[in-house]
Amino acid sequence: LSDPELVRCRGCAVMNPPGFRECIACGTLMPRVEQTKATPASTAADHLRGLLGAQRARGVLRLFVGLVCLVVAAAVARALAVAPAIVELVIRLTFVLLAVVCGLAARPEVGALLTRSGGWRGMVLAVGGFGVMVSVGALYFRGLGWLGFLPDGGPDVYIESGWPRWTPYLLHAAAPAVTEEVIFRGYAMARLDEVLSARESLIVQAALFALLHLGAIIFPSHFAMGLLFGALRRRTRSLYPGMLVHAGWNATITWAELAGLRFP
């Protein structure tokens, strides 16, 4: 194992002879010899950190299973003819509960992200991110509308149930922005960082965020949003810029849908 000429595969950790294009065990592409950086030798502390990280990363799996169960429960409630506004409210409250649990489970990481405001740089990035999102999002959703893919309801379920006009802004715009940022960019990203590289964890949390919005057609747009919010969190080391952009986007959609506009 200590032979310096052997190269360790990143996919399965098997040692490979130098010059092999693919790993002999799993077929993962090996980095070229001249590209491999000299990494410091692993220590026993690294090993323990790795084991602990893998253990903690299972929390993301539990979170995913929990959210899938919530989706199933919501579908069952709809099938039982529970009022859509009540179903939506229960989903939002469950998200608040999940955000609190996630925040407590990763207190040091999430706490650090919540104590930093992001500063002026964060605000500038948030405004820029919002501008990009509205422009690209409007084009994307207009394209979907042009193809005949109509959005599936949303904020109007509260109005249809006779709730005040501010409830969609609270429950459909502000609450998801805060809870989803804590859950995905706070908890999930911190846990994934323990087993994946920074780029990998950014992509995986964005993929989970997009997947749990349940729509193949909106996957590309929500994946891009997840990447943007994740990048904001990395750049500013704060959750607030992401929350602002997220809430701004949700509020724009809520306003557009309530006003009966075809934007986005």
Binding site: G11, M15, N16, C26, T43, A83, F149, A207, A216
Partner: protein, 165 residues
């Protein structure tokens, strides 16, 4: 050559198998797209025929808790086959992308593929419970291979930090 890492080889085999299943799923989604499109077109045609005599503005009985007018429902039904086709093609594209990524970074790619597969099955099961049992054997094989691959790739990441013997 491998430093006598027999467990590593077994791990590698599982990771390779899971990566292959990501590719197989991409092909299956791509192949099933036109078939499902045809099926949906046949189904919606009969429902649209039932709506023929109803005025566009007439309010229908709630469907899944939502109230539609006949016009809205007609519009939705007309776009349904295209939605199904687009969704399947997007999923095929995503799986193909994950398969390519799995050649470089198996752990995150397999994790994303597994999550996507589970969500697709759950959502499909919600909309059409009978679909859970369609191709059940293939679904079980895919699920088992992806779970084993994910576990092995996770073990490999932990082993990457193991100090040299």
């Amino acid at each position: 050559m491998s430093g006598g890492d027999d467990g590593g080889y077994e791990r590698g085999r599982r990771v390779r198998k899971a990566s292959k299943w990501v590719g197989i799923l991409a092909i299956l989604f791509a192949v099933s797209a036109p078939i499902l499109y045809e099926q949906e077109q046949t189904k919606t045609a009969s429902t649209l025929a039932a709506l023929n005599g109803i005025e566009d503005g007439q309010v229908l009985r709630p469907i899944g808790g939502r109230i539609y007018t006949a016009g809205e429902l007609r519009q939705r039904l007309e776009s349904l086959p295209r939605r199904v086709l687009a969704a399947d093609l997007i999923l095929a594209g995503l799986m193909a992308g994950l398969w390519v990524w799995a050649r470089r970074s198996p752990l995150p790619a397999i994790a994303c593929a597994l999550a996507m597969f589970v969500v697709v099955q759950v959502v499909g099961g919600i909309y059409s419970p009978a679909s859970i049992f369609e191709g059940l054997l293939v679904k079980i094989f895919a699920l088992v291979a992806l779970i084993k691959g994910l576990r092995s790739a996770l073990e490999a990441r932990a082993a990457l930090r193991t100090p040299p013997a």
